[in-house]
């Protein structure tokens, strides 16, 4: 059955959104799907986004149809707004931030580990399972709204952070397929989606807004993650084309850190008044702080903003306490903490201890987005051989609703390149829904041969090869890295990796250490690297291949070389190929191993 709609799905760290467009239309008209969800027991409301939270219901809440959805009445959990609320009342039964866990190599992402630190009896689930359930909810919401056009028959685009490495993409892919996505759905990087959304808003006018040689910085600060992407405008056969030039590392810092930092500050003010807050009040404080932040940071904002904590019981007024939060300290704390002015050569401080860390996830030790940006640009300048000066910036993420953050970021970049002032990309920057909308727009462009951003893989990938040589007791054999995928390998292409043959043992699982780098642009497949800087190349999940015992293979091991492939849908595949038996074995990510 051919698709009638293209559907863009933004599986966010804190909110998920579905956008869609009719493929039969002349030009894409992207709409958001209203997502029915539980907002309280037995109560369904339509919202434009589905909070990415999951409530593992108590037995009492599982009874009497309290978890009933229009499409299902046998669930033992709730996703969405009710679950988000429950995270204040029953944190041990609420899963949040599952997406951040997907890219965390130190834990078993198929293992039932969430809610982190919760007692076993709640029936913990894995980060992959949580993601699957959010996506399942979105699929069901679509099928409820469009019973004639099943989700599985449509053209679907799912977004992932640009900095998600191959194994995190693989896990997202797995969750989506299990949730009922069509087998041929496409993965798209979130910052690119934001650009597509802008392209969609601008229509043909974009060709006037950007010219050949322009470098567009996409600065995406979401609830939990920050993603930096650089896109260049080039000319091919007389046409302007967009090319993705560089992608930053996966940074676990976002708007939630800011609200939390503010909430900590305000909680201290309450403490001075001898008011200690319970967890429920802390969450409502967090909510109030977000509103306070937006007010206080406005250019002509008030000098003081009252933040109140409502009484917990029904005696609301009697127990309400409030403090005046002053503008200057807050502005200093948030701007200097997250967007400090810094020089182009600054680097994020490693091992800097910040006050707002949560156990478990490897949050950035330095929350300064500007310093991460300086490092990102200087690393890529080094590789490119000359300084990179972005000409335009596109903002994405709710954090940038506070204009001072936009301004500070631009001022900081301008201090690095006083001769070439950076421009805010003209037109609408849709901060909340750009990713889902852009995904739908991309799907439309893909079907109709519209403008596409080219760029291929964001990272280069390497297989770790233990060198043979004399074994020295106590010293591990040196590890060399074999490049198997270069940066920028295009979708729909494959390549043989020329190298010496490697022996795979038959009937056993052979493990390879696996590494990635968003920076080393010049490495070609087959290139062996003996020394590298750990800031350039980082280890990710290991790979494993298992050769079955086979009559054709009489020897204890089979010599193989590697073959890599990037599918049309953006998935990376690595194969071992034997010249002797002409057999091929796919390497699978091992995401279970714990370090």
């Amino acid at each position: 059955m051919t698709a009638k709609y293209v559907i863009g799905v933004d599986l966010g760290t804190t909110n998920s959104v579905i956008a869609y467009s009719d493929l039969e239309a002349e030009s894409p008209a992207v709409e958001l799907l209203e997502i029915p969800q539980l907002v309280a027991a037995s109560t369904i409301e339509n919202r434009k986004s589905l909070p990415s939270f999951l409530y593992l219901a108590t037995e009492a809440d599982q009874e009497g149809g309290k978890l009933e959805l229009p499409w299902d009445d046998g669930q033992t959990f709730a996703t969405g707004e009710w679950a988000r609320r429950q995270s204040a009342d029953t944190p041990d039964r609420t899963v949040g931030g599952a997406k951040s866990w997907l890219s965390h190599h130190k834990v078993d992402r198929q293992g039932n580990i969430l809610p982190w630190n919760a007692p076993e009896e709640v029936g913990k689930i894995s980060p992959v399972e949580a993601s699957k359930r959010y996506l399942q909810h979105l699929v069901a919401a679509w099928n409820e709204a469009q019973p004639e056009h099943a989700f599985a028959d449509q053209a679907v685009v799912l977004t992932v952070p640009a900095s998600f490495d191959a194994s995190a993409r693989e896990l997202t892919h797995e969750a989506a397929i299990a949730a009922g996505f069509p087998a041929d759905f496409t993965l798209l990087e979130e910052p690119q989606a934001a650009v597509y959304s802008w392209l969609g808003h601008m229509g043909d006018k974009w060709r006037k807004a950007l010219k050949v040689g322009d470098k567009l910085l996409v600065c995406d600060v979401g609830g939990g993650t920050t993603d930096l992407t650089l896109i260049t405008v080039e000319e091919e056969a007389g046409e302007l084309v967009l090319k993705r030039m560089a992608v930053g590392n996966h940074l676990l810092v976002g708007g939630d850190n800011m609200d939390l930092a503010l909430a900590f500050h305000v909680a201290e003010l309450f403490k001075e008044k001898n008011v200690t807050l319970d967890p429920w009040q802390s969450v409502s404080l967090w909510h109030s702080c977000r509103a306070a932040k937006e007010q206080l940071l406005q250019d002509d904002g008030p000098d003081k903003y009252p933040v109140s904590i409502l009484g917990r019981g029904s005696k609301l007024i009697a127990k309400t306490v409030s403090v005046d939060v002053e503008r200057e300290p807050i502005k200093a704390m948030l701007l200097e903490g997250f967007f400090p002015s810094c020089s182009a050569t600054d680097k994020p401080e490693r091992g800097f201890v910040s006050g707002f860390q949560e156990l478990g996830l490897p949050f950035e030790s330095d929350p300064a987005v500007t310093r991460h940006l300086a490092e990102f640009l200087s690393q890529h300048s080094e590789k490119a051989g000359s300084a990179i000066h972005p000409t335009h910036v596109l903002f994405n993420g709710g954090v940038f609703k506070s204009e001072p953050f936009q301004k500070r970021l631009m001022d900081t970049i301008n201090s690095w390149q006083p001769d070439q002032p950076l421009q805010r990309l003209e037109g609408d920057h849709d901060l909340d829904y750009a990713v889902a909308r852009g995904a739908a727009y991309y799907g439309f462009a893909k079907e109709k041969n519209g403008i596409r951003i080219r760029g291929g893989t964001a990272q280069a990938y390497y297989v770790g090869i233990q060198t043979s040589g004399l074994a020295i007791p106590g010293a591990p054999r040196p590890l060399h890295l074999l490049n198997v995928v270069p940066i920028g390998m295009e979708e729909g292409t494959e390549t043989d990796v020329p190298s010496a043959e490697i022996g795979l043992v038959v009937g056993e699982t052979t493990k390879f250490r696996f590494f990635s780098s968003p920076i080393r642009k010049d490495d070609k497949p087959g290139q062996m690297i003996q020394r590298w800087d750990e800031a350039e190349i980082s280890e990710t999940d290991s790979l494993e291949a298992s050769l079955p015992r086979d009559d054709k293979i009489n020897e204890p091991y089979v010599p193989v070389t590697f073959h890599s492939k990037v599918t049309e849908l953006g998935m990376l595949e690595l194969w071992c190929v034997s010249s002797k038996t002409s057999g091929r074995w796919k390497l699978e990510f091992n995401v279970r191993e714990e370090d």
């Binding site: 029915p36 907002v39 309280a40 027991a41 037995s42 109560t43 369904i44 409301e45 339509n46 009497g64 149809g65 309290k66 009933e68 609320r85 109030s288 509103a291 009252p306 109140s308 409502l310 009484g311 029904s314 005696k315 609301l316 007024i317 009697a318 309400t320 306490v321 409030s322």
Partner: protein, 182 residues
């Protein structure tokens, strides 16, 4: 039943029940709208629809109240006795409740003014304006006037998305369960 309670009850019944709304309209015309809240005999209780016993009449009103309480602590504020507190203390509490009530009402009803002009200014009235949208006050003659001073911009719900409740009436009547920390 106290008058204010009855008025509240009627308000929600009129809002959500077409039949009651129709009755209220006949009551309110031609008398001024203020008098609609004090009819001589209370309207009969709404008849439960036999085909849909699981969605009793008025349940939407209860769900709306529960929603406002959940999202904005609406009942906690309006059930309090204000005479016990000074203005600053009330103000501190109201600020948050007002912010959240407003955002909830706007999400569910997308409330917008009927007229976009500034209040206090003169507006022109077309030959055939909708008398449901514009109410003439002051020296009202039989001839339709060409314009007048806008004293109130009016409010209009541009949608009605009250959450759907699948439980029983008894469950809906619990607007906020008692909470016990263990």
């Amino acid at each position: 039943m106290s008058r204010i309670g009855l008025a509240f009850k009627l308000f929600f019944q009129i809002l959500f029940n077409a039949e009651v709304a129709e009755r209220a309209e006949t009551l309110s015309l031609p008398a001024p709208a203020e008098q609609a809240a004090k009819p001589e005999t209370p309207p009969p209780p709404p008849k439960p629809k036999p085909e849909k016993p699981q969605r009793p009449d008025g349940i939407d009103a209860l769900v709306l109240l529960a929603t406002l309480q959940r999202e904005a602590r609406f009942l906690d504020l309006f059930q309090e006795d204000l005479s016990e507190y000074d203005d600053a203390q009330i103000g501190a509490a109201v600020r948050d409740v007002q912010r959240d009530t407003k955002s909830t009402l706007n999400r569910l009803f997308a409330i917008s003014p009927v007229r976009d002009e500034e209040e206090g200014g003169r507006i022109e009235l077309p030959e055939s304006y909708d008398a449901g949208e514009i109410r003439l006050v002051g020296n009202v003659q039989n001839d339709k006037p060409s314009g007048g001073t806008l004293v109130h911009r009016g409010w209009r719900a541009t949608k009605c998305d009250v959450p759907k409740f699948s439980g029983t009436l008894a469950q809906a009547q619990v607007l906020n369960p008692a909470e016990v920390e263990v």
